[in-house]
């Protein structure tokens, strides 16, 4: 059973979001353990670039494993303030620790109110 930390919120596209969710707040975004397990060994991560505008529910990158390719959706809207460069050389760190391996950070242009609690996300993936 994949872990779903209570302190995070989630999208139905299997991203997690950490941080305060008001307009102007900065959040970190990654993919859930459930998503990482489904993909298998991740060998390539392409997230958005620094300064990009991302829109909640829209594709902003991709993840590639030996088994499959998966699109990366942004769970929030805003401006990208950081990208995790370590994932270029070590994409497997997502498999090792999905909730430790943030992919990008966003300064929110609107409050993110419609994300799922850990409980709701758990029901979605049960």
């Amino acid at each position: 059973m994949a872990m779903i930390p209570e302190e995070l919120v989630y999208s139905s596209e299997h991203e997690w979001v950490s941080g305060d969710l008001g307009e102007g707040d900065e959040v970190s975004v990654g993919i859930t353990e459930h998503a990482a397990d489904a993909l298998g060994d991740i060998v390539y991560v392409e997230g958005p670039s620094l300064g990009d505008t991302v829109v909640a529910g829209e594709v902003c990158g991709e993840l590639e494993s030996t088994k499959a390719v998966s699109e990366l959706y942004s769970p929030v809207s805003g401006t990208v303030t950081a990208v995790n460069e370590k994932l270029v050389a070590a994409p497997e760190s997502i498999n090792a620790d999905a909730y430790g391996a943030w992919i990008f950070k966003v300064e929110l242009s609107a409050s993110a109110d419609d994300l799922l609690s850990s409980e709701a996300y758990g029901e979605l993936t049960a």
Partner: protein
């Protein structure tokens, strides 16, 4: 409700990620795709292939029937030998690719892909009209367990209780009946789908969990259980076709570069008719319109099944049938159908990877060959 392998409880206990595959709930991975792939290349991997179909052909006309029903010359297969062959439709299209094992002078076992087993069985029954043969679908009572990799000979030898020397002496594509530790009878074949030395053990479904645990206990650190994901990257590196990707009802064996499996006979060794013969003769003699090639990329993006192969103008000229980041080669690889003009090794072709052009170099198959 998906079908469960006789080893289902073992997979659950090992923490496997299970997926639906051709109606079966099967392990896609246990620990990780790349670790499982590398174990087979460097030591040994253990696979549950119980979803595969086993169809037994018995009777006085078994040879004549198979000579008519499949494209290979089954009469020439020696006792205890195996042959890779195909069953084709009248129009030459591939219904399935098969491995046929000769168990006795009048007894063969056909191993078919899980997704095609019912279709193959129906085609065989139709073709058996007028032949003295009995066809039995033994898929439910037979479990198939593969031990693959350079350490497999030692492991299977150590699993064998009587006449263990027969394992090492077994040539490639040969099979023998052995008794494993625990008085378990197995039909052991030196066959596989990984590009490594390896064995496939046909055992009764009832005894499959004992054989599975025996393989893990005997192999120790030298063996790990492997799922369908690593099986796919292993066979892809080894240039082995997968039905539904490289092979289909719309491809002939010649399209896939496997025309050698079709035996038309010669004056010295004539062969009678078989289903698809006329269409396959025409396919052999026609100029090919497409060629199955290997692809190797230098970038990070891999070709994937269904991606278009494009020319310099971006016009679609072919299609990727399989692709993945190759764990052994460390770069993206694939197989694709391309026009003959683009099929020479070294040719640069474009692949439309989700709207972006990636360049790949055409390479001869297989892309990996064990040394």
């Amino acid at each position: 409700m998906s079908l469960h392998s006789p080893l289902h409880d073992e997979h659950v206990a090992l923490g496997a990620t299970l997926v639906d595959f051709a109606g079966w709930s099967m392990p896609v991975r246990y620990s990780g795709d790349i670790a499982e792939h590398n174990a087979v290349r460097t030591s040994a991997g253990l696979f549950d292939l119980s979803h595969m179909g086993e169809i037994s052909v018995r009777g006085a006309d078994a040879v004549d029937f198979l000579e008519y029903a499949v494209v290979g010359r089954m009469g020439a297969v020696g006792l205890g030998r195996a042959k890779y062959t195909m069953i084709c439709a009248t129009d030459g299209g591939v219904i399935d690719d098969l491995v046929v094992y000769r168990r006795d002078w009048d007894h063969f076992v056909i191993v078919a892909n899980a997704s095609n087993k019912d279709t193959v069985l129906a085609a065989l029954i139709e073709r058996a009209d007028g032949f003295d043969v009995d066809l039995d679908d033994e898929s439910a009572s037979i479990a198939l367990i593969a031990v693959q990799g350079p350490a497999s000979e030692g492991i299977v030898t150590a699993m064998t209780a009587r006449d263990a020397d027969n394992i090492a002496a077994l040539p490639y594509y040969a099979a023998t009946h052995v008794v494993l530790t625990g008085d378990i009878h197995a039909f052991v074949a030196r066959t596989g789908y990984t590009g490594e030395d390896g064995f496939e053990l046909f055992v009764s479904a009832d005894e499959a969990p004992d054989v599975w645990r025996l393989a893990i206990a005997t192999g120790g650190d030298a063996i790990i259980p492997c799922g369908l994901s690593s099986r796919d990257t292993l066979r892809l590196e080894a240039g082995m076709p997968l039905y539904g990707q490289e092979l289909s009802r719309d491809t002939t064996p010649f399209d896939a570069g496997l025309g050698r499996v079709v035996v038309f006979g010669s004056e010295a060794k004539p062969r009678g008719t078989f289903v698809g013969r006329d269409a396959l003769e025409a396919a052999r003699d026609a100029a090919p319109t497409r060629v199955l090639v290997g692809l190797v990329g230098e970038g990070r993006r891999s070709p994937r099944t269904g991606y278009p192969v494009v020319d310099a103008d971006g016009t679609e000229v072919g299609i990727v049938t399989s692709g993945a980041p190759s764990p052994t080669l460390g770069k993206p690889i694939g197989m694709a159908y391309v026009p003959p003009a683009l099929a020479d090794p070294g040719t640069i072709v474009g692949i439309d990877v989700r709207g972006r052009r990636e360049e790949m170099t055409v390479a001869a198959l297989p892309l990996y060959r064990r040394t």
